[in-house]
Amino acid sequence: MAQAVASSTVTRTDEPVLRTDDLVAGYLPGVNILNGCTVDAYDGELIGIIGPNGAGKSTLLKAIFGQVRIRGGAIWLKGEEITSLKADKLVAKGVGMVPQNNNVFPSLSIEENLEMGIFQSPKKFAERFEFVTTLFPELEKRRRQRAGSLSGGERQMVAMSRALMMDPSVLLLDEPSAGLSPVRQDETFLRVAEINRAGVTVIMVEQNARRCLQICHRAYVLDQGKDAYTGTGRELLNDPRVTELYLGTLAADEDAKRKGPATAEPPTASGFTA
Amino acid sequence: ASTPPQESAEPSADIPEGDGTFAVGTILPATGNLAYLGPPEVAGVKLAIADLEAAGFEFDITLTERDSGDTTTDIATQSAGELVDAGVDIAVGAASSGVSFTFIDQMIDGGVVQISPANTSPDFTDYDDEDYYWRTAPSDVLQGRVLGNLMVGDGAENVGIIYINDPYGIGLEENAKQAIESAGGEVSASVPYNPGDTVFSTQVDELLAEDPDAIAVIAFEETASIIPELVNTQGFPSDKVYFVDGNLSNTYEFQPGTLEGAKGTLPGNFASEDFQARLLEIDPALEDFSYAAESYDAVVVAALAAAQAGNDHADAIKANMQSVSAEGEKCETVADCLALIGDGEDVDYDGASGPIEFDENGDPTEAYIGIYQYGADNKYAPLNAEFGSLNEE
């Protein structure tokens, strides 16, 4: 058996690449969504963030990316404070992000969407385009189609690719697998792991928590705007509290059930007359 | 048809006593398609006030100036409301007949004597105005005839007219047309346009389609757009173009020569050098003097009426307007007239603009119409004048 994706721990230098320090942020006056959220990502780490709906996961990513007003705490990138820095400055510093909603430019073609991904260094377009289209060959075929007419999953592919175009050093992903077909989801997770292994620090918000925990080095469970639990992906995956509160038992049950009689019996052609 | 002066001079029982201040309001165009005529009119009013004060007029005079805009805005009705609220005794304005119609009822209801120095629309003659509406400019029944005559006299057999679709344009067009046709000519194209129009190539084409010998342009500010289309682009000879009071102006910025030979009519006597000089003292930037004299006279007649009544109330003024304008001792300057009135004489004011004799409708019955001609520098100079009377019809 070959080496498992996330089995090795990343050698940590002392300083995280990206750190949010006791972050407090919110949209409406007087209502904080993040209540002192501390998340670290060390160089080369793949960090998963899971948690219930409305926990503040997307808000955290948006706060890092300068799209939510920060009311307290600080954000550090490679030792430099980037609190409230604007998005395009962060992009220039090598941070990329895929938002959860509205993550394509509907009236631009797929190709143009990807061009926007590498807006700041257009010369590398051809090279990067080739890279992302090996990931999602569909996109190559449809390069002239307007993103606004794409299906939900297709958009998601475009959104992922757009962020990958720029070859970031830190990548923030907000539910990249949502809406993708199972095989694409798996592929996406693996690609993310691969990209991460190539040296990109990744912070990934996921609701497909099992898959996410399977591949990430460390993960945080966010609840009510705070980092409630943290640990390696495996630790959390096997933590019954986490399972109960956040992962649910459905997948595990299903797996167990199928590993039972269903897989034991070879598929038969015989029907099931009632 | 004037009322015996003695009668109205006596303070009649139902005329309230004024407040001792002869409050003048103006509602003249500061903006809009007649804005270029605002300054001379305002200057005329101011000059009149200065003259009245210098002549020791018995009442204090206040001046409230308001804009009249044009018919495409709602300024006039607001200004009129403000003047009524401010309690003016007389309101001088508006210049445009169309605008005057929009607030004349407000003045009547508010009990303000409205005296327009420039309204020439025939429609005012029999407007039910309870004697609150007066004007010092003659109805276009006169100017229309003069214009028609002028064109016919220059040999135009087939005439085109482009006119503004408002009471002024309609009235003037009608009278000019009548004059031309009764002289044996033909108005082959008569094209109206609406205030607010800015591009006239269609209308000009429509005019030229009939191949007219001469074209009368009855318009305001829009003339500055009509002429380039007509003369520069379509090459219609400028000396076959006829202007009217609405557009006779020295302020066009055309290429030199554009207007050369064009003629125009303008109610009122030629402004005397002296009068012009005094106006220029009031407003050195004046370039046109249209209706300055009529504005001057509007204030003066009203003041004389107040002086005669010894009462500055609007109702007293309206009751004496006709009396001071006609019959009695002729006088031509404010000082002379006031002195005569002081002596208890009935006066007949003949002012800067002409004889000024009001009929029972509040219209002047006699007037001059000046005829002017443009030179290559696009400035006009007097050519001739025509005298007319509206009484003897």
Partner: protein
């Protein structure tokens, strides 16, 4: 259809199981529905029937035409050809709102929450038969007060289930991505639909919550509703669906009970991936390479318009009735 060597039957099916098979009691029947965009044929459904009082999953690769098919059925888009009926009434050309009134209510994959209405108002809007929605009756409160009370109670109940009760008075625009999905679904349920059509209802919803909601969806069936949903979460599909229809490139390429369909190699190849159940963390390099290939060829060329690889054996050991009892 073409395979006669094996007899495959199912309690929901009249006759033989296969793509486009006739159902015992269909609620929706679609015939020859096609929709093209420029050169692309997004939907090309020869014949499909949705069973009544069952939970049907519609699965298929991205871009298979599932959403477009939803749009066509519900009157939000016009097909190039085809006819379809709902409870025996033809719906071709019927405007969307009428379709919904007949009891065929759908949700949107890309959520449509009414941002500047509170969550509760969003819910109330979902309810039908409101006298107060008539302009004139609206003026007289007593005419609609009772109904308003009823539906408010119902809405509160749903909100609690969907864990949105704390957000009751907030603007819907302030909801998180997952919460919007939940609201969308809950709102659709307000109208007591006959057939509820959910377009990826659980994408972005926390798995623990998903699990708790499945029970609710099953309840719907118990109440006599039918459910048609699109979903990429195979655990969920497997867990609650009675019937699965697979679309690819606009066509219905397979259908059957979940276990059968999900072990269909063609479906696995085209959609699930062979490693669907493998832990990604434990995956070998070979596995990864294989997976990459699968993903690259997600819509394999060999998925032909005719049924998926004919000799596919149908395997099922879990009778449908079992599930229903859960």
């Amino acid at each position: 259809m073409s395979d006669t060597s094996t007899v495959r039957t199912h309690p929901l099916v009249k006759g033989e199981v296969g793509p486009g098979c006739a159902k015992v009691d269909p609620i929706v029947v679609a015939d020859g529905v096609t929709r093209t965009f420029g050169g692309l044929t997004a939907v090309d459904v020869q014949h499909v029937e949705i069973p009544r009082n069952a939970i049907t999953a519609l699965i298929g690769p991205n871009g298979a035409g599932k959403t477009t098919f939803f749009n066509l059925l519900t009157g939000f888009d016009k097909p190039n050809t085809g006819s379809w009926s709902f409870e025996g009434h033809s719906l071709a050309g019927v405007p969307a709102y009428r379709v919904a009134r007949r009891g065929m209510v759908r949700t949107f994959q890309l959520t449509k929450s009414l941002g500047r209405l509170s969550v509760l108002q969003n819910m109330l809007l979902g309810a039908t038969k409101q006298p107060g929605e008539n302009m004139f009756r609206a003026l007289v409160r007593p005419l609609w007060r009772n109904r308003e009370q009823e539906i408010t109670e119902k809405a509160d109940d749903l909100l609690k289930r969907f864990k949105l009760d704390t957000k009751r008075e907030d603007y819907a625009a302030s909801l998180s991505g997952g919460q919007r999905k939940l609201l969308e679904m809950a709102r659709a349920l307000m109208s007591d639909p006959v057939l509820v059509m959910l377009d990826e209802p659980m994408a972005g919803v926390n798995p623990a919550l998903t699990q708790s909601l499945l029970g609710h969806i099953k309840d719907l069936k118990a109440q006599g509703m039918s459910v048609l949903f699109v979903e990429h979460d195979m655990h969920m599909v497997r867990h609650i669906s009675d019937w699965v229809i697979v679309m690819a490139e606009g066509r219905v390429v397979a259908e059957g009970p979940p276990e059968t369909v999900m072990s269909d190699p063609a479906v696995i190849d085209a959609y699930l991936g062979a490693h669907h159940d493998t832990d990604l963390g434990e995956m070998t390099g070979d596995d990864r390479a294989a997976l990459a290939q699968e993903a690259a060829a997600e819509i394999p060329v060999d998925v032909s318009p005719t049924p998926v690889s004919d000799p596919t054996p149908v395997s099922d050991t879990t009778p449908v009735s079992d599930k229903e009892e859960k």
